[in-house]
Homo-oligomer: 770 residues x 2
Amino acid sequence: MTAEPASIIGASVERLEDRPLVTGRGRFAGDVSFVHQLHMRIVRSAYAHARLKAVATEAARALPGVVAVWTADDIADLSPIDFREGPNEKLAPFRQPVLAREYVRYAGEPVAAVFATDPYIAEDAADLVTIEADELDAVIDASIPASEFTAGLTTEPTVCRQGYGDVAAAFREAANVIDMDLSVGRHSGVPLETRGAIGHYDAARDVLELHGAAKVPHKNREAMARMFGRSTAGVHLYEGHVGGGFGVRGEIYPEDILVLVAAMRLGRPVKWLEDRREHMIAANHSRQQRHRIRAAVDAQGRLIGIDDAFFHDQGAYIRTHGTRVADTACGILPGPYRLPHYRVDAHFRLTNKTPAATYRSPGRYETNFVRERLMDAIALKLGLSRIEVRRRNLVSPEEMPYERPLVALGDEVVLDSGDYEGLLNKALERCEWDRLEREAAERRKAGEYVGLGLAMYVEKSGLGPIDGARVNVHTNGDVEVITGGASVGQGFETVIAQVCAETLGTDYRRIRVVHGRTDRIEYGIGAHATRATVMTANATAVAAGKVRAKALDMAAQLLQTEPSKLTIRDGRVVNSDGSDSAGMPLGDLAHHLRPLSSTRGEREPGLAAEGWFTTSHMTYPYGVQVALVKIDPGTGGVHIEKMLIAFDIGRAINPMLVRGQLVGGFAQGLGGALFEEFQYDERGQPLSVTFADYLMPTAHEVPEVDVLIAEDAASTTNPLGIKGAGEGGIAAVGAVIASAVDDALGGKGLITQIPITPQALKAIIDGQKS
Amino acid sequence: MTAEPASIIGASVERLEDRPLVTGRGRFAGDVSFVHQLHMRIVRSAYAHARLKAVATEAARALPGVVAVWTADDIADLSPIDFREGPNEKLAPFRQPVLAREYVRYAGEPVAAVFATDPYIAEDAADLVTIEADELDAVIDASIPASEFTAGLTTEPTVCRQGYGDVAAAFREAANVIDMDLSVGRHSGVPLETRGAIGHYDAARDVLELHGAAKVPHKNREAMARMFGRSTAGVHLYEGHVGGGFGVRGEIYPEDILVLVAAMRLGRPVKWLEDRREHMIAANHSRQQRHRIRAAVDAQGRLIGIDDAFFHDQGAYIRTHGTRVADTACGILPGPYRLPHYRVDAHFRLTNKTPAATYRSPGRYETNFVRERLMDAIALKLGLSRIEVRRRNLVSPEEMPYERPLVALGDEVVLDSGDYEGLLNKALERCEWDRLEREAAERRKAGEYVGLGLAMYVEKSGLGPIDGARVNVHTNGDVEVITGGASVGQGFETVIAQVCAETLGTDYRRIRVVHGRTDRIEYGIGAHATRATVMTANATAVAAGKVRAKALDMAAQLLQTEPSKLTIRDGRVVNSDGSDSAGMPLGDLAHHLRPLSSTRGEREPGLAAEGWFTTSHMTYPYGVQVALVKIDPGTGGVHIEKMLIAFDIGRAINPMLVRGQLVGGFAQGLGGALFEEFQYDERGQPLSVTFADYLMPTAHEVPEVDVLIAEDAASTTNPLGIKGAGEGGIAAVGAVIASAVDDALGGKGLITQIPITPQALKAIIDGQKS
């Protein structure tokens, strides 16, 4: 009797995707070139808000090597860029035109596009394009009264409202009311690789191709096909390697549309690569919200109600996500706590800044900061410990699944499983919270600015409702899994291969995972909202299960036995009792199932199957973050002495990759907590356009992170029991750092906004001293 | 009540594939380029047979711009090029190595490959490679006794034998025995576009790509994957436009392997374009056979038996087809006639010439010539008219399906349907045979060399056993049909779209037909053996039928009716009684069937389906060709005064395209009948390497062709009732022209070989005069 091999789900195996990357054979947007390609350069508005009078392109056109210079008039037939989820009449007026028409609404807005035979010529020519315009006042603060907004599109397009219960009553009954004004700064994903797009029109096949696609190729294909009046069969997107996605890469931007239209109309491939300054002003910003939040709390510190009105600074246009970030913020704000009454008004406001959209953990990074600041404030007000106030409010395992009459990403919020207090206990024990708290207090007494912070949060993942995959075993025994997923560096290929390998009983290294190519599979969800692993892996498991059954059935016929007496080990169908060591290789069975095979019988050709996985709701991993920080009172700099992320992911397919996601996410979150901010002057001029102005955390700032991966609460929404880990590292970093810094300052609730810049911190400390 | 729209099957609609071609946006191999590509040039043997002593590459390597020069030693790990149908132990020793090793066996054999940054440098460098070798005797006649063959591989590898009955008894009983020695010259497909191949290795995805593929991309992928030890998922072939296929393009040649291996090993794309001289000595030759055939005939002119021994001149190596051409010749030789006893020995012999394989109508062009010469000889011997002797021998409609214990292309020969005499009558009537015959006789009497010829033949098509297709309706109502077919110019896209349109009730111009891309569908039969229309169209009809049923089912739910009460017209589901004029567009139904749709219910996502079509046997169209020719006795030139092709195709999907196939095929067949021949001197040096030596028919030589498309005998092997037309035009041209020329010479059976060159003809005429 042969022992069953250990499960490969849960094994920290090496990544399949690394070979080309570590051997320098990656294929990023910059690596993609076509012969005879043109290079595009965008002429951007220097005004934050102005009425366009004239765009002079003659000088640019006259430069040798320039093939075309386009303004809005040249693409008058193109609609503004539509929303990913389809047309939305209410939001339609606020969409961004591909090139500015009549008005410019943010500094950096594309006004003209230059196409030349050489990127340097294109850049020189772009400098020759002159914009004549009448400057208008710029709105840069989303939280001013609506009446003060200037005319035109720069106004409040919508209020997103959610809630339940009787909030007014809650506040009437409350023993304590806590009132806060909390702000999250404008920052975003700033990946190592800037954006890039290469448009290629294959006239021979009438297929329009976008290379350098990312994130959601299938969804973008659908939107682009609609925009160009083509069928999806005539538009294909091809993902390359990605030097960081983080939500900002892979959305449909004006530049993507321009390279495609130019490829068709100019009859040559068109390449565009963003430079760093452009990325700072052209790629989606994110995060900026100001919350005026009030909590109604009973005498024991239990939440009765929350009333929040927040101002979401959308920037100049509503891009592909519509109001999703604000919506998600509304739905996710309550986090892991019981909340009987709730009301939230999201004032979704347009300003004269770069348009905003999603950045890793959108709507949660912000609201985790807001809610956890509130919990700390309740503890302070009631004289409870920060741990105790949370314990009193956490949803218990017995209450699962816990339904909230809220919606996030269009999905009703149902917390599927979780032992929040259990994870809290594990985290406190792991970091020796009591000792840390004691030592911090002692060091503060000794004059050090040392503080301990805590944040608890619920992440969301596995947005449905459906995904599919196709598994195909080749006659040599290799397996191909064709997915509509995307890889933004997260280890997608490895994880999908592991799940397939588990079901098929084959070496995961013999499994090739296809993603990010719309011509390989008709439908795909890409990689966003931490859904790829949950949705695509489960679809893969379904498909692989069908393939397994077919292999066993075919083998049973050939071996004259019953499928139930067979299993698959090491890529071979063997007797499940271990009595047959040789077995029948999967490749041989694929051979027997070839279309041409006579042994195939009535079976459909191919050792292959398509699998679909459907889920009714998202699944909710959760976490606890603990940070110990020390402030340098002389500079206001924050040093992180200790950092713990405890995260329950239900079931980890590859713990090494989960750890990577959590640590990487933390490093990114630190930027928004302490450093990164897109600042504007009062005329709407961007002040953070280089890495000298926009500060990213480096290896120097990022501490060693202790990671505790828990698997105590398997997801109940999918058979694999998995939850996503992609955003769990970043989600509460603003919250936990704020809590720790506040603690270092004496725990008085002085930290009400992030990033907590050295300047701000030094000002607080200096203020305390005086 | 709305009238049912006219069937689009049978309509001569315009070709879908022509737009890029007529607007100059085709994508032939020469149009495919990758950045940083290298250019390959092959160093070919000047010897027909020699033992290699040394290949000096130093000088070539030293030329600036040369990146590598390979000889056999550089690719010692590569096996010779294998057979399309898989390994064959008996034939394996005769396979062609990718680069010559130890021996060279034909003039033009690849000995070395030069890779350079520029095609001109590659060509210059190739001239610097010197080959030192000991020349050996060359064998150039395949019909000499086996004992006279020289040593080494240049010997008879195999005898293919088929037959049935008692041939010896047939000859004992025969009233008459006719004995002939008939030869068909060496010629082949010489397309306007020479071959080309571009190898590209995508290291980022570990995918090896061959661009410029044709004919059988899926089969070649499988063979290449085997050769390179890769899974088929790691090898993809991409078809371009094709400036003529004709059987010679799209096989695996040494050059295809070299560009792929070089792309992998040199890390840069590699492009190769053949020049005309190379095509003449490197692409597959075909046709050359010498038949020593005897017929046993009864007193009434009825065939009792045929005994044939023929010598198939294969050239130096056995290429991808193995012995298929000789096998097919054996199986097809009896044609439309009853033949009680039959024996054929095909001496499949290697000579020191360019290897041979298939050229449009392989095995039939040759044997139609042989058999029809025989029938004319029987008529002459028995004093019967050429019509009468055929009438007495034709298989009758009542005998269908007519099984012959023979095999062609691995398939048992079962003539599925046909009214051969009926078509003969139609043809005779159409061309006014009796009048033509009378007038020709009168003109001969008056001293003109005028003759009337006739040939009857059975073509084969629709080789099974299986093909599949996928039909997908997009949400905008456009349809994509994904096939594993290939387009060699025959109108594949149009025909498949017509069949799909018929089933789906949609405009064929809204249907996009994908072919020749191995990454779009896992299996495919390509385009060869006149099978694409029969097999792929029927698979398409199956898939479209499933899509239709799904559309009606979905619509019935939405309209709250029964599917049986609905039909599809103009791309809309409407009440079949015509009571609803608006209907529901297919695109809307596709929208309802999207993965995300809630109205979809339990239906599989997508208004899409895969369909498979399986057939047990080929289907056999048939034809009658009549030619009236006049010889110029001064030059020996043949002028064709009248030409008729009558062809029964079962059911024509697009008569215009059928006509095009028949006329084009005729023009090609004329080359082999009168002009084209690859000649060699006694040392095996090719003498026909330019268009000055190898004469192609031009517009001047090709007459107006009268085409009679009959649809009297629908195929019984497939639901559409269709048969293939791709080779029906060429198949009997050698036969009919020989018959007519012979008649012009007095009908004495003087024409025993083709091509009937002016020189040969003038010699005969001059001989007659003296």
